[in-house]
């Protein structure tokens, strides 16, 4: 079995303590949460951090709560907790849809929402879902706290706007009257997405007032299809428009060929799944309105 290279290990007892440790061990240290992205990379020796700061015991980051008109999801909330949360399911079906198809139930018991975002894997479902939802990310650093729009968080594959010795502590999603859905094609249960799309629709008086379209694994800038969103905004929730939004999304993404599929297929999927996610979201919206 493959094993990681040697490293130093510290268990953080509080967010402050974690930040101190990050400063102490410097840029070659890594925070480990669920570890389900980082540890496999360390075993394959694609990552060789000198120190790991374990934040698994930080219960303060493990809560899901409604805070005013926002849902606040602690960075250490496990995928399984997000999936089973009634409040998440009620307000954000897109997250429930996505969580059902993220990895597998056992991995979801350990992997965390914050860890998924910080890994910034181009195939990460939650990145697209939270981008479609226009979530905000709350971080803590030595200089205090800051809030980053999730759409400004991803700087590229495996790169985020997090600074040195800065920790993602919370994901905040505005609770509005909206409908949402997530559609994914995978080669097999538990596989990373070939492509996936998330849709969020805010509607008023038969018109889409705001739209979010998130795309996974197809090289969409910031995991979103902005032109498709703009196209949908202000128009009726009609099927032809969903098809056209899908077409735009397919055009605007930049997939790379791999064993999951060639470029033309992934581009097609980006469009097809966008359209399908919009349809499901709209259907859910009707259900809500009815």
């Amino acid at each position: 079995m493959q094993v990681p290279t040697a490293f130093q290990y510290e268990k953080a007892t509080s967010v402050e303590h974690a930040l101190e440790l990050l400063v102490k061990y410097g840029p070659e240290s890594r925070v480990v949460a669920g570890g389900h992205s980082l540890l496999p990379m360390m075993k394959l020796r694609l990552a060789q951090p000198e120190a790991l700061i374990d934040i698994n015991d930080l219960d303060e980051l493990s809560r899901i709560r409604v805070d005013g008109d926002e849902l606040a999801i602690g960075a250490m909330v496990r995928h399984a907790e997000l999936l089973s949360s009634a409040v998440v399911g009620e307000h954000f079906p897109i997250l429930r849809d996505a969580e059902r198809v993220i990895a597998d139930p056992i991995v979801r018991n350990r992997g965390t929402a914050g860890g998924s975002l910080c890994q910034a894997d181009p195939s990460e479902d939650l990145s697209a879902a939270f981008c479609a939802l226009r979530a905000n990310l709350v971080t803590r650093g030595r200089e205090g706290s800051r809030t980053i729009a999730v759409r400004e968080f991803f700087m590229g594959p495996y790169e985020t706007a997090l600074r040195e010795a800065e920790l993602l502590v919370e994901i905040r999603v505005p609770i509005r009257s909206h409908a949402s859905a997530y559609q994914k094609v995978e080669r097999r249960a538990g596989d990373w997405a070939v492509a996936a799309a998330g849709a969020v629709l805010e509607m008023s008086g038969g018109v889409i007032t705001e739209a979010g379209v998130g795309l996974t694994a197809v090289g969409a800038p910031q995991f979103v299809a902005e032109r498709a969103e703009a196209f949908l905004r202000g128009g009726p929730p009609e099927d032809e428009r969903f098809v056209e939004a899908g077409r735009i999304a397919g055009q605007d993404c930049n997939p790379a060929a791999d064993q999951r599929g060639p470029v033309d297929y992934k581009r097609h999927l980006a469009g097809e799944l966008t359209t399908r996610a919009l349809r499901v979201a709209a259907t859910r919206a009707m259900g809500q309105e009815a």
Partner: protein
Amino acid sequence: MTATEERPVGFGRMTRKEDARFVRGHGTYVDDVQLPGMLHAAILRSSYAHARITSVDTSAAEAHPKVKAVITGQTLAGLKLAWMPTISYDTQAVLATDKVRFQGQEVAFVVAEDRYAARDALALIDVEYEPLPPVIDARRALDRDAPVIRDDKENQTDNHIFDWSAGDKARTDEVFANADVVVAQDMLYPRVHPAPLETCGTVADMDPITGKLTVWSTTQAPHAHRTLYAMVAGIPEHKIRIISPDIGGGFGNKVGIYPGYVCAVVGSIVTGKPVKWMEDRSENLMSTSFARDYHMRGEIASTTDGKILGVRVNVIADHGAFNATAQPTGFPAGFFSVFTGSYDLDAAYCSVTGVYTNKAPGGVAYACSFRVTEAAYLVERMVDRLAAELAMDPAQLRMRNLLRPEQFPYQAKTGWEYDSGDYPRALRLAMDLAHYDDLRREQAAKRAQFQETGSGELMGIGISFFTEAVGAGPRKHMDILGLGMADGAELRVHPTGKAVLRISVQTQGQGHETTFAQIVAEELGIPPDDIDVVHGDTDQTPFGLGTYGSRSTPVSGAAAAMVARKVRDRAKIVAAAMLEVSQDDLEWEKGRWFVRGDPDSGKTMTEIALAAHSNLELPDGVEGHLDATCVYNPPNLTYPFGAYICVVDVDPGTGQVKVRRFVAVDDCGIRINPMIVEGQIHGGLADGVGMALMQVIAFDEDGNCLGGSFMDYLLPTSMECPSWELGETVTPSPHHPIGAKGVGESATVGSPAAVVNAVVDALTPYGVRHVDMPLTPAAVWRAIQGRPLRTDLAIT
């Protein structure tokens, strides 16, 4: 003797004796073996597919405080062990000396105090390579300008390994020339890997004082391994003991001898300590026995009304960098010539060309029954291709051409003698279980709806009918490296009537400890729970070639029955002496000899066993005790068969395939333990779904393996597998002592074609006639677009 419904004395459903330890977590697999002072090893592997080694510097690794030895190709060359013979009369590098010939090839072997340190030391070995152009595409391997991979071999000036053919070419050509209809199809059975969940590994322990080598190894063929170690390493065979403990799945992956095993033995000799080496998953997928990799062109000829006349096949067989395919001598393409399948043909011919490529060696593994898998796939795809061409229902076309019961024993056009079968009955049963006509009606309705609305899912129904040839094999025709494929059995009945059966084959999950006890129980009337089955230890069991190719029941199972009959005959002599009657007056009922016409006078096996060990006077020349040995040399293979029907739903918008139903009717003759037979079939069906839909080891143009982890090499989960629907017919093998046939690989052989046929059937509205495995969403979608993917290469 007390038979209960749960514990039959003989054949029948019965829970397994081996489960008690497994459910408690008390199995003993190779990596569970821990010996005092044991060291751990790791292998440095080539990152290149083809490169010349210019230098290997191990000094930094040797300086690691926990490293005990670093072995390189040069070290082994000094011991004349740098190369070893393969099972196919080729040679394979144990550790590379001159060149590396596939990505993942073994270059150096580190022995250290613990497994973490051994891994760390690999990074300290500095190997300089001079990269060479690789040969990746088997179809280009024989090009004039292709680099020569095996320049280590004298007189090898190209990448050609063998040409082999079967059948009557002239007659077949004539049939094709005169046929009304000829359909041709190129198809690839891609490279796959058996991927048992336990990887391969070994613990080698050379006792420096006694000179005895004990090897715990993940092997399906411990006796053959012992003989090969003796031949390769020059260790006297009586000083070698191979133990194959609990094995976490084999599927053919654990037939061969891998370089790591040999290195572990050398490591133990060098250090004087036991050495454990276990592959990681990438090593398993990238270096040990792959399967298939057959590039086939099939042709089928028929009359306009669907009488199949002939099948013709040409194959390019990719054998990787060393020809290590595990086949009986004289069968370089295994039993591929059984590609005539289950049909009554006028003529058939195949030609197979084996080539070297810069890929891992192997070539036969993965529950394939010596390439019957490729054969069954080929013919079943061709029959469906023909059905589409003739616009005939594929079930009807098969029914029309299947061999009839009265034609058995049937001499196939490529030389096989099918022992028994009732094919139409099996197909009819499968169609009944599936409600075939209803399915076709449902499909027609859905198709009409799809054509009307342009949306929705496409339903497909796929049939496959297979005939296997398993139980290798008659010594006269079949050997592996000169070792005849017969198997031994020894039976001892203790004075109290309990018994120990020692067999040459062993379980990797097939349940031998239960079924072999049931065979003896059936013959002697001793409860299976009173019979211990010893296997997997060459010091404790008779010689035999091991468990693969579905041969345990056909060969070793027969040996178990025959040795039990010997004991029964001996018991008769003892009983006659006990009852003071002539042997001729005795009759047998299960568990007991009694006096004909006086059923109350008799002796049970328990009574006879005690008497056999007592001072009872026996006739002159008759030894005491009830022990016996036997070697079984099968007169023929057994020919299990089956009819499979698969129902799929395809989403044309995404290319996703959902297997909705799978009906499998198997005929493997007499079923010793139906519960276990069904389990074997379930597993094979999942394999078929996996191969058809997701499993493939592809390579990019530089020879990088694209299936080197379970993130990339996908195995089916509970979500892709439907609830299997099984049916059975029983046509006993006429030549097997208990009428049984092998079944371990039947479903793996038969199921892939059913899935592919179903998907192609679903795609009929798009005019699709064939899609190469695996039918990933991308491959299906591209087939719909009329631009099929080449699934064995990197997708670009």
